[in-house]
Amino acid sequence: MLSACPPEILTRIADLELVARIIVEGLVSGLHRSPFHGYSAEFSQYRHYQPGDDLKYVDWKLVARTDRVYTKQFRETTNMAAGLVIDTSASMAFGSKLRYSTIVAAALAYVISRQGDAIGLMASADGREVFRPARAGRPHLSRVLGALSALTAHGDWNAREAIGRAAQRLKRRGMLIVLSDFYDNDDTIFAELRRASRIGHEIIMFQLMSREELEFPYSCDLEFADLETGQKVTVNADIAGPAYKDAIAAFWNGVARAPHPKGFSTRSSRPTRRPSVLCGVS
């Protein structure tokens, strides 16, 4: 995700809708077409050309036939619904992963809603399920962004149940966007995602990790405490570092490069800079 505004400033902006808008405006200005396909419009009627109409909607064939200038008018139809599934387990509280996750989700929601498509949300806050059905329109976008702002990282995340329910609640074929670190039971998550794919949904996975998780910049004896389970282990970080980095790299690549069925769009990205949160898009 690129934006014209420096990331360290974006993270300090509390208004999620503003952040999303800044990101999307920066993104859209650099692209020639929307990255999210699925938008379409249905021809509705002709009307006489009026000064100021966009010339690309002029039916030139009709001009040739009738010597009169007519402008096409379309009726926009939403033919896609997207559901955001946010991992709010305690592991997402490490660094600014949850914050980054909500920013990415907000930007995606803004883009999708701006195209006229429906956007929904499945997450949890303080142990309670947060669900927003997939709907179009700006008021609903505000509700989704408001729910994103209230998300907190807490406890563990039942990924299988969350993904399954989100997939079921998308009433028509759509897009399922999952943002997580995918620490929780990989096989179960992928199985559920494959099931959603078989239903007909398009799956987009965002794997988020902090730099400390990937590079393990620790030394001396440290007592590591699992944020989700509370378990503790005391190790010498200098000795554990190399083995840890190999294992986490294998995990990272495993998620990015695992064979997935059709309907999974996979793309892995390695950081060229040194952001605190590295985002791999699968």
Partner: protein
């Protein structure tokens, strides 16, 4: 102790690994631990420097004083001087490290204050200079004995001694009344003249006797007065009881008690030293009954046979009244007027006119009293004018600078890490 304690606590305290929250422990392999169990000191040099800072600071707060030979010599080369003078006297205190004047009309009182001031002064040779006319009586051995031996004493004779002085001497009781004695003291020569006094003193001896003995006693009193006796203080009275032969053994004794008053004891001692009285008493044969020879009576004059002619005791009713008992037969003898004369003279206190003379203290005496100031002793903590704490503070500052310099690489590393953290982006 203050330095060792934090080090010991640091070493003995259980060193626990720093807790580090982490998203998941899946990928962290178990390893052996490095330094938790060891008690080894790290960075010994930094520890030594820090301990040195603490030690120097604690020592500086204590205000230590190093007694070096150079310091002792510097103390010995300076003088703290207390100048005792009478009002209006000017004395130079040049060359003194510190000096203070103590003026008073009473030299001993000023010496006392001067000594107290010297004992609270910084270490140095201490001396007292007594600048006064230095007349006999103004300073005594006892006054100078209160000056500690380490404090030197010097005398400077200032002012002038008055050429002559007149004082009132003792008063005399005579047949013609009381007379005043006037003494003129003039450079060691004393002259006396008498003058009549309008106020006549009362005869201090009250006589208690039978009428037949009374005129003998009055004659004895007149005879004693003709000898001119000293006038006693008005609060000293004597009851002279003449006991007849008939009632000497049976008459009730006056209400008396043993003698405890010093002036009464002095009077009886003076009577006992009157050789003329004692000699005349030895020629007398009649004395008092046996009970007047026993306590609380004290025989003061005896016959040749040892029988008391006169016995004394103190009155119980009037503690300042001396009771003398004599037999009636003795009133016809010379012993009675001699006893009355001796008794009257012994009641008056003896004075020494020489003590009132204004005579300068001889130089030989002053030289005997004078002495050099002794070397300064180990001073009290609150008298030290300058100790060595400033060197210790300087050492502490140098060590602080060294400590900062030793921590320089660590700070650079820490700054680099913080700069790296600041450039991270979300």
């Amino acid at each position: 102790m203050s330095v060792a304690a934090p080090i010991l606590v640091h070493l003995l305290a259980h060193r626990r690994a720093k807790p580090m929250p982490f998203p998941t422990l899946r990928f962290i392999p178990p390893t052996r631990l490095a330094a938790i169990r060891r008690r080894a000191l790290e960075d010994v040099l930094l520890l030594v420097v820090r301990a040195g800072i603490l030690t120097a600071a604690v020592a500086a707060l204590a205000g230590p004083l190093l007694l070096t030979p150079a310091r002792r010599a510097s103390w010995n080369n300076r003088v703290v001087r207390a100048i005792v003078t009478t009002p209006g006297t000017q004395v130079s205190d040049a060359g003194a490290f510190r000096s203070q004047r103590f003026e008073a009309n009473s030299i001993p009182e000023a010496i006392h204050r001067a000594v107290a001031w010297l004992e609270s002064s910084p270490p140095a040779r201490h001396e007292v200079i007594i600048a006064a006319p230095l007349t006999i009586g103004s300073i005594t051995d006892r006054d100078l004995a209160a000056v500690p031996a380490a404090i030197g004493i010097r005398f400077e004779r200032t002012g002038t001694v008055p050429p002559a002085r007149t004082i009132e001497g003792r008063r005399i009781m005579s047949p013609t009344g009381t007379r005043r004695r006037i003494l003129t003291l003039d450079h060691g020569e004393t002259s006396v003249r008498e003058a009549s006094d309008t106020a006549s003193a009362a005869w201090p001896i009250d006589v208690v006797s039978r009428p037949e003995s009374r005129h003998f006693v009055d004659a004895a009193i007149a005879a004693a007065l003709s000898e001119r006796v000293w006038e006693p203080p008005s609060d000293r009275r004597v009851e002279f009881v003449v006991v007849s032969d008939e009632d000497g053994a049976t008459s009730p004794s006056p209400d008396i008690q043993p003698i405890r008053s010093p002036w009464m004891a002095d009077a009886l001692a003076a009577i006992a030293r009157d050789a003329e009285l004692q000699a005349e008493a030895s020629h007398t044969t009649s004395g008092l009954a046996g009970r007047f020879a026993r306590a609380p009576w004290r025989p003061i004059v005896r016959t040749s046979g040892g029988q008391p002619i006169a016995s004394a005791a103190a009155s119980s009713q009037s503690p300042q009244r001396l009771v003398i008992v004599v037999p009636a037969a003795a009133t016809r003898h010379l012993v009675t007027p001699l006893l009355l004369r001796s008794l009257a003279n012994s009641l008056a206190p003896v004075t020494d006119a020489a003590a009132d003379e204004i005579v300068p203290i001889p130089e030989t005496r002053l030289r005997a009293w004078a002495r050099q100031a002794g070397p300064p002793a180990v001073p009290k903590a609150d008298t030290i004018d300058r100790d060595d704490r400033r060197w210790l503070w300087a050492i502490a500052l140098l060590l602080i600078a060294a400590e900062s310099w030793l921590r320089r690489p660590r700070r650079a590393t820490s700054d680099a890490i913080q700069a790296e953290e600041a450039t991270r982006v979300a």
